[in-house]
Amino acid sequence: NLEDRFGDILKKVRGQGTLSEANIKDALREVRLSLLEADVHFSVVKSFIAEVKERALGNEVLASLSPGQDFVRIVADELTKVMGSAAAEIDLRAKPPLKILLMGLQGAGKTTTAGKLARLLKEKHQKEVLLVPADLQRPAAIHQLQTLARQVGVDAFDTQVGMPVSKVCQQALAQVDRRGQDVAIFDTAGRLAIDLELMEELREAKQLIEPTYTLLVVDAMTGQDAVNVAAEFKAQVGIDGVILTKLDGDARGGAALSVRQVTGAPIYFTGTGEKLDGLELFHPERVAQRILG
């Protein structure tokens, strides 16, 4: 478990009569090093270390029999606070149609994730799904999602090149109503959080769709910019949840901690492969261990 990961850190504090500023200094530096290497944002690390230090030097560790263990427990506890302690799940009992809007930076994995979600909802939850290609920008994006829809065996809205995004959203919603489908998943174009025009387009789409879940798709290898991306998408559009992709790679995934800290939104799923079965529930403790290295 998480506390087993702290072997090295524990050695630095072991055998001390009590936790003092001096003997936890090395251990704190170790934790800071580990989090920064994992791409957790500089300021998220700073406030995390401050929290740990305050608790470690506070009342709960005074005259402890095993101060090293207490230090480790505090770090694990603080990490769990940010990452969450239990897997968060999408509420499938909500009144249909369940509408999911996917957004995020270019190349994060939105289109592939849309296909994976469709497959999960169809195979595991027997839902009727409509995949909506609402990326009118990227070459062959419509074709890409329609191909995935075929592979999964779900319906795809027949988006035409040149249609405005608003029209796609309206007509797709009308189709879901007519056909009585349970779920509609809207795939959007990748966009920079600093692109005002495209963020406005996204806001308009959200207003039209009124999604049950607006999900930010984040690449697990994202660096310090994760904080800017999460903050901007939250401020300009609103985030109901996050999907972290490409966790089958060897990136430590510190972006997850930064995004959690900045948005407080649950991470619902992780992408764990290129194929359509590569989607799992987010396990906070597993990802916390990975971030700590």
Binding site: Q137, P139, Q224, D225
Partner: protein, 277 residues
Amino acid sequence: LLRSGNGLDADTREELEALLITSDLGLQTTQSLLDAVEKNLSKEELKNPRLIKERLKTQMLELIRTTPAPWPEATPTVVMVVGVNGAGKTTTIGKLAARYAQRGKKVLLAAGDTFRAAAVEQLEIWGERAHVDVMKGDEGSDPASVIFSAVEKAKNERYDLLLCDTAGRLQNKVNLMNELSKVHRVIGKAMPSAPHEVLLVLDATTGQNAVSQAQKFSEAVPVQSLALTKLDGSAKGGIILAISDQLDLPVRLVGLGEGIDDLRDFDPHNFVHSLFE
């Protein structure tokens, strides 16, 4: 060597650490740059913020001053484009195709991603936009054979430039990295001097994993230069300093948007300047 009192004061050091780390230079490269600043400036100079900044910029430029060699002229010059999923390979190839077509070169694109949905269609659209030919194989065919055929065609029909697109892959996937090595070997079989360039595409929003990408891709194929994409975003792309520090790979190209003209040659001075904005 510990010279007491001959370093940056703690607040200044923390401020500079924050600037460099949040630009994705990584802790290791940040610390070695700041240590070098302390070594190279006098005690008095270390109290002057402008001098500290100038020294830091000079050192950064030293790290990234290797300019990549120009592509050798051959018939065709073969460039193999590699990188992780979603980095911007296909788009970068489209931009390069347009650049060289506009210069009157005869360009061929090889649709070497035979796996991902609509990968070939995406490259074909870029081919149309750039007014260049695209060579593709049958659906689901082996990438190595598609690229082999493309090299053959490029030689026989006397193209100036062949750009080979490959499927995205994560560097820890041994079988996919082996596939990449195989594609590289097969290119060499079709034309002994080829590929003349292996270009690794990195997304500027990537964190320290970029170093592992550069390392592992270089183990599979002889990566010669980098293309840094999505630098039009808020990410600073400091990973290239970490990579230069550890692997000495030059940056050739920068992607500044999703349009066909959004490609620039890497300019170290502009890059370092923008880190301090």
